[in-house]
């Protein structure tokens, strides 16, 4: 598992959303719920503290592109250092002004206006103004393979009301724009107009963030060195003279680098490194980033006839001993789960947790009821990343106890795993924790082209989804929970464990925070301790 093969540590859309033509103004609802519901936590630190010399962060993989417009949040560290977002998402889930001072939704979430912070310059000296932001959004939409098209699919026009004011108009309601413009989804990380015109952002940086790329002392694909941005508007936010992002794919090597002080922080590390890190006197943060389990895609039984019967899918859920697998995969830091959500997600329903207790007899009874008393053979697509293959082997062992003979096909390359996703009745899954609306878009909705290859649909689900988009924030949570109940009842998945992707750091470092509401640490918050 600790192979040098490129590992998408934060695979499967940890916080992203997928495009949908029918994106209806739902975003503000979800947002309000999130804000309202949460107890207020301590505000983010803005206090100036000691400026350290060099911060070296070990990254599990190197970025295909340095341009935040791609929206590739699994490379967020590379963007956060050079680009401040319009809106900053705080650890407690609330938002605070970034490059934008104020922002408001018009009625029905069909337009969104922003008031920019004055006196902000890009690292190449250009001034940040409304025209620059407009150009930036158009650049994001035009970028081939970029994810902007999912957030602004129904964007019709952008009006520049003044030097620092602009309004976005949409044909259908587009909630969650604060989230889109936050450091989470990178749309708000505006790049300088000259760089946008020169199309050089893929390999160099020109942002309004605390640091900028020092190309001379960087080795593409291995070491990216950032130095303080002279034109930065918030001098207090610069904690380091130099920040180096170093790609180390081998977890053991990462641990050794941390212990010897060559590296101060390591992000996206496998949970199996925690015990050794603690033994080595290192600190860790283990947010439950990944929901892992089986995705029983072939719900209509086209490839594997038995999966067409809900009783079989439920039998599979009963056959799994979630506690044991969680202990194995989560190495003591994971949490078993029977639903595709965890405390902190809007669609999380505590009642569903013990819907499928480990009950081999019940599983066998359901199997024979569905006409497969002595089980059947089930082919499962898998990849040897983030422990999916170990999960697959563990589940194969348990399903064998109820007669289901698993053929686990482990690919050593993530691309091949996605490519063959539709050719298997089931697959091991490691999926991010997302609001229900985005789950519907990417995971189990009819348009989820990748994760729902057989286009399974459910009338109630679609009805609830439409309500969710239109529902005000306070009702959104109960709608989301009803959607989760249907998914769990229909046993479209066999969730097993919420497994953490661990950030490890030395004792002389502070600011590596992760909560259930903002799972990913914010690179610019990392500063010398004390």
């Amino acid at each position: 598992m600790g192979s040098t093969v490129v590992r998408k540590s934060r695979t499967d859309a940890s916080e992203a959303s997928s495009s949908s033509r029918r994106w209806i103004a739902f975003l503000p609802m979800a947002l309000v719920i999130v804000v309202g519901f949460l107890p207020a936590c301590g505000g983010g630190g803005g206090s100036t503290s000691k400026v350290g010399s060099t911060l070296t962060i070990a990254e599990p993989l190197s970025p295909p592109s340095l341009d935040p417009a791609t929206g590739a949040n699994e490379n967020s560290d590379y963007f956060n250092l050079a680009y401040d977002p319009l809106i900053i998402l705080q650890p407690d889930g609330t938002f605070k002004p970034g490059l934008a001072l104020k922002w408001t939704y018009a009625t029905g979430n069909k337009s969104f206006s922003i008031m920019l912070r004055p006196g902000v310059k890009f690292s190449d000296g250009d001034v940040l103004d409304a025209a620059a932001v407009k150009g930036w959004i158009q650049h994001a939409l035009a970028l081939p393979g970029g994810r902007a098209s999912t957030y602004f699919s129904s964007l019709t026009s952008i009006d520049v009301a003044g030097p620092l004011a602009l309004t976005l108009n949409f044909s259908s309601p587009t909630p969650l724009l604060e989230l889109a413009f936050s450091q989470l989804l990178e749309m708000g990380m505006v790049g300088g107009p000259k760089a946008v015109a020169a199309n050089s952002l893929a390999t160099d940086t020109d942002g309004a963030g605390p640091y900028m790329l020092d190309k001379a002392s960087s080795v593409p694909g291995d070491t990216y060195t950032f130095v303080p941005n002279p034109n930065y508007w918030n001098k207090g936010g610069v904690y380091w003279k130099k920040v180096v992002l170093k790609t180390i794919t081998n977890p053991n090597t990462t641990l050794d680098a941390l212990r010897t002080g060559q590296v101060q922080v390591a992000v996206g590390q496998p949970v199996t490194s925690v015990d050794s890190a603690k033994a080595g006197g290192l600190k860790y943060v283990a947010p439950l980033t990944l929901l892992m389990g089986l995705s029983l895609n072939d719900r209509s039984g086209t490839l594997a006839k038995p999966l067409g019967d809900v009783r079989i899918r439920q039998a599979i859920n009963y056959a799994i001993d979630r506690g044991a697998v969680a202990k194995l995969i989560g190495a003591g830091y994971g949490r078993s789960t029977a639903q595709m959500a965890i405390h902190g997600d809007d669609s999380y329903d505590p009642a569903l947790d013990n819907r499928y207790p480990h009950d081999v007899a019940k599983a066998k009874q359901l199997l024979s009821a569905a006409g497969y008393p002595n089980g059947f053979t089930l082919a499962i697509d898998s990849a040897n990343v983030v422990g999916e293959d170990t999960l697959g082997q563990a589940l194969a062992g348990q399903l064998a106890d109820v007669g289901i003979k698993v053929q686990l096909d482990v690919k050593n390359d993530v691309g091949a795993y996605f490519q063959s996703f539709g050719k298997y009745p089931a697959a091991t899954l490691a999926f991010g924790r997302l609001p229900a609306a985005i789950d519907y878009q990417i995971l189990y909705g009819p348009n989820a082209s990748l994760f729902n290859p057989f286009k399974s649909t459910n009338a109630d689900l679609s009805r609830l989804y439409d309500q969710l988009l239109a529902a005000p924030p306070d009702q959104a949570t109960s709608i989301a929970r009803q959607m989760q109940q249907i998914v769990v009842e229909e046993a479209w998945f066999a969730p097993v464990v919420a497994s953490p992707l661990v950030d490890l750091y030395r004792s002389e470092i502070a600011g590596v925070t992760s909560t259930d509401f903002r799972v990913q640490e914010y690179t610019t918050e990392i500063r010398p301790a004390g």
Binding site: T253, Q262, D413, S449, L450
Partner: protein, 320 residues
């Protein structure tokens, strides 16, 4: 006294370079065709799971992956002939920049381990050839032991001992020479220590060929003519025994070119080996082609050096 017959050397160089042109062509074609058969492509990897089918097709088109294979190969060939290796599909960096950036790492590793293997191997080999049986069997044991341990196994142990337990050397990373020669050297000590199999092979070959040479009649003639033992061993015998050792060094260089991928992974060093693995799993075709051509060029250069060494070492050798 020694006058190299220059025409012969030019002929050797000419032959070798002439051979390298078809070689590079064969290698690049071979990797291109094999690569084309690989399922999945770079666009799918970049777009990742969240990418919708439309975004995937949009990227695929912009990267020109939907063109027929032959035209893509032809375009690549034309650009290579002009010296432009194209840009990596994955991170848009020019391939040439990517490769040259990492060449110094791989060269330091490979040349370093070959040199270590040569020097240490020669000394042990000569000692084994001269001393009695005990040293001889010691050389055998060392050589077998050196080969027996998989290098990443040894690497992990070395790191645990000399980087973590006793922080003598850096556990990972590579410091470019121009930055600081001392750190450059320190960062190479452990990785180059993985050259033990090379040392073993050179020692074995040296011992075997020295023993054969020392039985040759001209050794007895020189000995009887009064030439001191030291000069007989280190000047005359070693020179004749050197040719097969040079061949073995060539093999070690080529083998360690392949071996660096594991060393680079264990020590997290940005070398060509790691890049090759990364490029293959990301289906980054221009980068794979670039690495393949670089590797082949390195091998051709090494073979050229071996031919020249032959010409110098054993003038009697007529290269057909």
């Amino acid at each position: 006294m020694f006058v190299p017959e220059s025409p012969a050397l030019l002929r050797i160089v000419g032959n070798r370079l002439l051979l390298s042109v078809p070689l590079l062509l064969v290698v690049s074609t071979l990797t291109f065709l094999l690569e084309a058969l690989i399922p999945g492509d770079v666009a799918r990897t970049i777009v990742g799971p969240q990418g919708t089918q439309e975004q995937y097709l949009q990227l695929k088109h912009s990267l020109g992956l939907d063109q027929p294979l032959l035209t893509r190969y032809q375009q690549w060939l034309e650009s290579v002939v002009r010296g432009d290796f194209g840009t990596s599909l994955f991170n848009h960096e020019p391939v040439a920049v990517l490769l040259s950036g990492r060449l110094s790492v791989t060269l330091s590793l490979v040349v370093g381990s070959t040199l270590v293997a040569a020097i240490v191997g020669l000394l042990i080999g000569i000692a084994g050839a001269l001393r009695s049986d005990i040293a001889g069997t010691a050389v055998d044991a060392l050589s077998m032991f050196g080969l027996a341990i998989p290098n990443f196994f040894l690497g992990l142990i070395l790191i645990a001992l000399f980087a973590v337990a006793i922080p003598l050397f850096p556990a990972t990373g590579y410091v470019p020479f121009d930055e600081s020669p001392l750190d450059w050297a320190r960062s190479l000590v452990l990785p180059v220590a993985l050259a033990t199999p090379g040392i073993a092979v050179v020692a074995k070959q040296t011992r075997d060929s020295m023993r054969v040479i020392l039985e040759r009649p001209f050794i007895r003639t020189l000995r009887a003519a009064g030439v001191p033992r030291r000069s007989i061993i280190f000047k005359h015998a070693l020179r004749s025994a050197a040719a097969p050792v040079v061949t073995v060094l060539g093999l070690i260089f080529v083998a360690s070119l392949g071996g660096t991928v594991v060393v680079e992974s264990v020590f997290a060093m940005p070398g060509l080996g790691g890049l090759a693995v990364q490029a293959t799993t990301q289906h980054d075709l221009p980068l794979i082609q670039g690495v393949a051509v670089y590797f082949t060029a390195l091998v051709v250069v090494v073979n050229l050096l071996i031919d020249l060494a032959y010409g110098w070492l054993d003038p009697g050798v007529r290269i057909e």
